[in-house]
């Protein structure tokens, strides 16, 4: 008899009811936590927008010399408070993720107890949540994308008995290319499908799941008949990875020859693709943030140089700020050079460049 979280879960037939109750309790907890996660993501998003607005207003106020110290101090305090709140919510979310992993493991144990003499397909029911729980635990440290994709594929090969190898192809430089695979022949099969523009992989690029039980004999892709007989795999599942409404890649599972994917494998394929899409989404978000931060840094340096150059011209030629800007602008247009470059020359040489 096992006691977990104060709940008795016994291994006899009399206790099927209690196992069902435990399952129901875990499902309810999961649903509550999904709701909480969603709520907190919305709050985080709102606060990030608020922070951005405030920074924008402060930057403009500073540029116009309208910055009120007291007001700015209040804003800074509010920003700090929001940052602390976000950190607290992140900690709470981490606790919820730990609880979710524990629930997955408990489910696996319950399935194992309830199905003492399992058939080989029954064994998948245990391997799946265990592999997913391990995957979820690995993802907590937010590893780099390549590592995440490797972990997802390893979980797929472990959880799906028929799966001999898996791959993820991502769009790079405008075309799909294999970014991760558990076997070199899987990457070769990816490349062959992409080169011949046929097969489940390219067909799933816009989203959804595409399945075949005979890669070289499927009448949808006659061009694949020319492939040498694939020793390693015939059955294939490909699932499109959609990030922010755009197809960004495809996750593919290849089955052993003679092995056909069952319903369980299709469900796991979907689950793994959801993990991969989430990891891609995070990477996309990070890259967008980095690019924006760099653009802002560049813009602020440019604004600074232009402000200084305007000041020099205003003083030297008794101009207004607008007149000084127009002078810089016209010089920029005449020389076909960016205004920032002209401004930097004015700052360095204290005069406009010669025409």
């Amino acid at each position: 008899m096992t006691r977990q979280d104060g709940v008795v879960e016994a291994g006899g037939s009399d206790n099927d009811g209690s196992a069902r109750w435990a399952e129901q309790r875990d499902d309810e907890a999961e649903s509550r936590e999904v709701d909480a996660d969603q709520r907190e993501r919305q709050i985080d998003a709102r606060e990030r927008v608020l922070d951005r607005w405030e920074r924008e207003i402060a930057a403009r106020a500073a540029a116009l010399n309208m910055l009120d110290d007291v007001e700015e101090e209040n804003r800074e305090r509010a920003r700090l408070r929001r940052t602390r709140e976000r950190a607290r919510r992140r900690d709470e979310a981490e606790v919820r993720r730990d609880a979710a992993i524990e629930r997955d493991i408990r489910r696996a144990q319950r399935t194992e107890r309830a199905d003492g003499a399992r058939s080989s397909s029954g064994a998948d029911d245990v391997k799946t949540p265990t592999a997913c729980a391990r995957l979820a635990a690995s993802l907590q440290s937010d590893p780099p994308l390549e590592q995440v994709l490797g972990l997802i594929l390893a979980a797929g090969v472990e959880a799906v008995a028929e799966c001999a190898a898996g791959s993820v192809a991502l769009i790079s430089e405008g075309r799909l290319q294999t970014a991760a695979s558990t076997a070199s022949w899987a990457a070769d099969l990816d490349a062959a499908q992409l080169e011949l523009d046929g097969g489940p992989l390219p067909s799933a690029a816009d989203g959804g799941m595409v399945v075949t039980t005979d890669l070289t004999g499927d009448e949808r892709w006659p061009q694949l008949a020319a492939l040498p007989d694939t020793k390693a795999a015939r059955s294939v599942i490909s699932v499109g990875l959609i990030v922010a409404g755009t197809g960004t890649g495809v996750l593919t599972l290849y089955a052993n020859v003679g092995g056909q994917f069952g319903q369980q494998a299709l469900r796991i394929g979907d689950l793994l693709a959801a993990h991969a899409a989430a990891a891609l989404g995070r990477t996309h978000e990070r890259l967008t943030y980095d690019a924006q931060a760099e653009a802002w840094q560049h813009a602020l340096a440019s604004r600074d140089a232009i402000g200084q150059a305007k000041g020099i011209l205003m003083e030297q030629r008794s101009l207004t700020a607008d007149e000084a800007f127009r002078l810089l602008r016209d010089t920029s247009q005449r020389l076909n050079v960016k205004l920032r470059v002209i401004a930097e020359q004015v700052v360095a040489e204290r005069r406009l460049p010669d025409a």
Binding site: E56, A59, R60, A63, L64, Q292, A295, W296, H298, A299, L300, S302, R303, I306, G307, K310, D322, F325, R326, R329, S332, Q333, N336, K338, L339, R340
Partner: protein, 79 residues
């Protein structure tokens, strides 16, 4: 006669392959002081913006054309 030079901005921004967010960052970098909402309203429907601020936005688009080696340039409102 009402000034309609704002109408040239949005199509030019698209030809210059600039998102509204990217344009706003460039506009601030050139010294623009309007908010992103004011700039968006000006581009979308001619919302109020001084001639000077309009010209800073024009400069941002023209500099993008310069990067793309595209000879197109939008005219300025102020002489």
């Amino acid at each position: 006669m009402a000034d309609l030079s704002w109408q040239a901005l949005a199509p030019a921004r698209q030809r210059a392959d600039l998102s509204m967010a990217a344009l706003f960052i460039r506009y601030v970098g050139l010294g623009g002081v309007a908010s992103s909402a004011q700039l968006a309203a000006h581009f979308a429907s001619g919302g109020p913006l001084s001639e000077m601020e309009h010209d800073v936005a024009v400069q941002a688009i023209n500099e993008r054309f310069l990067e793309l080696h595209d000879p197109e340039r939008l005219p300025y409102q102020t002489a």
